[in-house]
């Protein structure tokens, strides 16, 4: 009797310990978001207050308006959106197309090429970006959308791998029936396999959209300050003429910049999980 009760108590204590730990970590992980929101609602006076004002009084909602106006926020948001839509669409289609080739077709050098795809996952991308930028600037592609079109068309190693894994798993009968009907592989891909891959396409679109929306160094190097994306504009746009950062506007701008990514994630979580399940690379 006694021992059962203590056993149960111990299990309960363990469980509450786990919960305490989870809640503690959760507080740690969410507090930066909270501080971003708090700072975005501070007046200038509250920002300079000493000691630190933990909750602004009153909330300065007008900061959001000011963040839109202090620099052309919406213009930069539009730049980000255009680049992200172009790159994610092209990258998704191209990666699915290439992934199908690796999954369903045979050719000399295939294993080597797939090895190279996997190796490029390990390549230091920041390091290749600098000489790529130098070449783009020589041939006059700086300040255009072409770099993103080209990056999109050539696909992403990660997504190629993801699609390849998906297409490898589909039954061979799908292909054979179509071949009997006289279909070539292009029609097989576009008419049969691509429509089958809708969840993967959604995953790929969301992932590549988020990557491009978040990318910092590419637009920093390749676009002038009036054409640049929100990522770069946020880091440089909210400063006094003397060059001091305006923290409440930075916070308000950052909040508006992050919000679409988080909303996208919360609404479409299952697609992110499909992506991360593949990223184990086993």
């Amino acid at each position: 009797m006694m021992s059962i009760a203590t056993g149960r108590n111990r299990a309960r204590a363990r469980k509450s310990g786990t919960y305490a730990l989870l809640i503690g970590i959760a507080a740690l992980f969410t507090s930066p978001f909270a501080w971003l929101l708090i700072t975005s609602l501070k007046t200038e006076r509250s920002l300079g207050a000493f000691p630190v004002e933990w909750l602004p009084e009153p909330f300065a909602w007008e900061n959001y308006r000011a963040a839109l106006d202090y620099m052309p926020f919406l213009g930069h948001a539009q730049n980000s959106l255009v680049i992200a839509v172009i790159q994610s669409t092209l990258m998704t289609l191209s990666s699915a197309y290439v992934g199908f080739g690796f999954a369903r077709l045979r050719g000399r050098g295939k294993n080597l090429m797939f090895g190279v795809v996997m190796a490029t996952l390990m390549l230091p991308h920041v390091a290749t970006l600098i000489p790529t930028y130098l070449i783009f600037s020589k041939v006059g592609l700086v300040n255009t959308l072409w770099p993103w079109v080209m990056w999109g068309l050539s696909g992403s190693a990660f997504l190629i791998f993801m699609f390849r894994q998906y297409f490898v798993g589909l039954p061979i009968e799908m292909e054979e029936a179509a071949i009997l009907d006289g279909c070539g592989y292009f029609r097989i891909f576009f008419k049969i396999f691509l429509p089958q891959a809708k969840p993967m396409l959604a995953t790929s679109l969301i992932l590549s959209f988020t990557w491009t929306w978040s990318e910092f160094l590419q637009p920093l190097l390749l676009l002038s300050s009036d054409r640049t994306t929100l990522a770069v504009a946020l880091a440089t746009g909210y400063q006094t003429p003397q060059g001091a950062p305006i923290n409440n506007l930075i916070a308000a701008g950052s909040t508006m910049y992050v919000l679409p990514v988080i909303v996208l994630f919360v609404l479409l979580q299952r697609f992110y999980q499909a992506g991360s399940a593949t990223s184990g690379l086993k």
Binding site: I25, N111, E176, T210, F216, G237, V258, L281
Partner: protein, 329 residues
């Protein structure tokens, strides 16, 4: 000819393993190249060509603008190995890598273990822990800059409450800790990868070990860790490579006066290797020297990847035969 192409599909359907007809396999291989062409062309034009371009520049003293660039042989490489600034940045990058990789991998596995337990609300906690990982790098860096602001930041607010002196967090030496916090905030991605690995471990295996009388800790060390090792290795390798080329975060944490993000204002302690390379190109116009530094990084990454993979073959336990997914054409 046409007879053959028509006959072939029937053969596929009729026999389970038809002998490959020459014409058909030629069609298939040609189609294969048509399918991988976008990637192949992109890889050559956007990766190989820039790398070779940098390689050629690395043997010159070009600044990209004047035509007076000279061939200097391996001078740039020799200089790099004697450049105190390069060696300093290498040291800082090495230190950063050796700190951040173990912490993030360990942290991600511990978080995964925590949210893998059969408790209510684990999905909620998973989402919460993953959320910072999807926050764009710029916003994350700016957020931590606000937190560690000397005057208005909550970090110093807490110091104040504890009766401690305020710290200028965004300068040396404290800025290294800010950078570390920023990186640790994003371990949710690694957590999901580890979680996928944990969930792939067959439950029977864990139960069998328990039945055999192994304690929880022993089961963890002798069953969970070995089965998780491919995923741990993957995280370590990608972690090291990402840490070696870190550039945006130190630049964003540096004071950004005058509306420019530049490598020149990064503090010495966070002056990582790529930050230094970036400055060679865009602050000093030393394209040749910068390219030599880039190639040194390429070589280092190549060697590390190779070594880890070799080591991995000996240390890592593969549950699934790694060749089994190789060729299904």
């Amino acid at each position: 000819m046409s007879v053959q192409t028509e006959a072939r599909p029937v053969a596929v359907a009729a026999a389970p393993k038809p002998p490959p007809r020459k014409r058909w396999s030629r069609y298939r291989s040609r189609t294969f190249y048509a399918f991988v062409a976008p990637w192949l062309i992109g890889f050559l034009a956007l990766t190989v060509v820039p790398m070779l371009y940098a390689l050629r520049m690395s043997f010159t003293n070009t600044n990209g603008i004047s035509d007076k660039a000279r061939w200097v042989g391996i001078d740039n490489y020799v200089e790099a190995l004697h450049d105190a600034d390069v060696l300093h940045s290498l040291y800082r990058t090495g230190l950063f890598t050796l700190t951040v990789v173990p912490l993030t991998v360990l942290g991600s596995v511990l978080l995964a273990l925590l949210v893998n337990q059969p408790i209510r609300g684990k999905g909620f906690f998973r989402t919460l822990f993953y959320l910072p990982a999807i926050v764009p790098g710029v916003a994350a860096a700016l957020t931590w800059k606000l937190i560690f602001d000397k005057d208005a930041g909550p970090a110093n607010g807490v110091m104040e409450l504890l009766g401690l002196d305020p710290v200028t967090w965004l300068q040396d030496p404290a800025v290294s800790y800010v950078l570390l916090s920023l990186m640790l905030w994003g371990i949710g991605g690694g957590m999901l990868v580890s979680l996928a690995g944990l969930q792939d471990i067959p439950k029977e295996l864990l139960e069998a070990a328990r039945v055999d009388g192994a304690g929880k800790l022993r089961v963890f060390w002798h069953v969970t860790v070995p089965l998780l090792s491919p995923i741990l290795l993957f995280q370590v390798v990608t972690g090291v490579i990402n840490a070696l080329q870190i550039i945006a975060q130190p630049m964003l944490l540096a004071p950004s006066a005058g509306g420019v993000v530049s490598a020149a204002k990064v503090s010495p302690d966070t002056n990582m290797y790529m930050v230094h390379v970036y400055a060679q190109y865009f602050t000093f116009g030393r394209w040749g020297y910068g390219s030599a530094l880039l190639w040194l990084l390429f070589v280092v990454v190549l060697v590390i990847t190779f070594l880890v993979m070799r080591l991995g073959r000996r240390v890592v336990f593969y549950n699934v035969d790694p060749d089994s997914q190789g060729e299904k054409g």
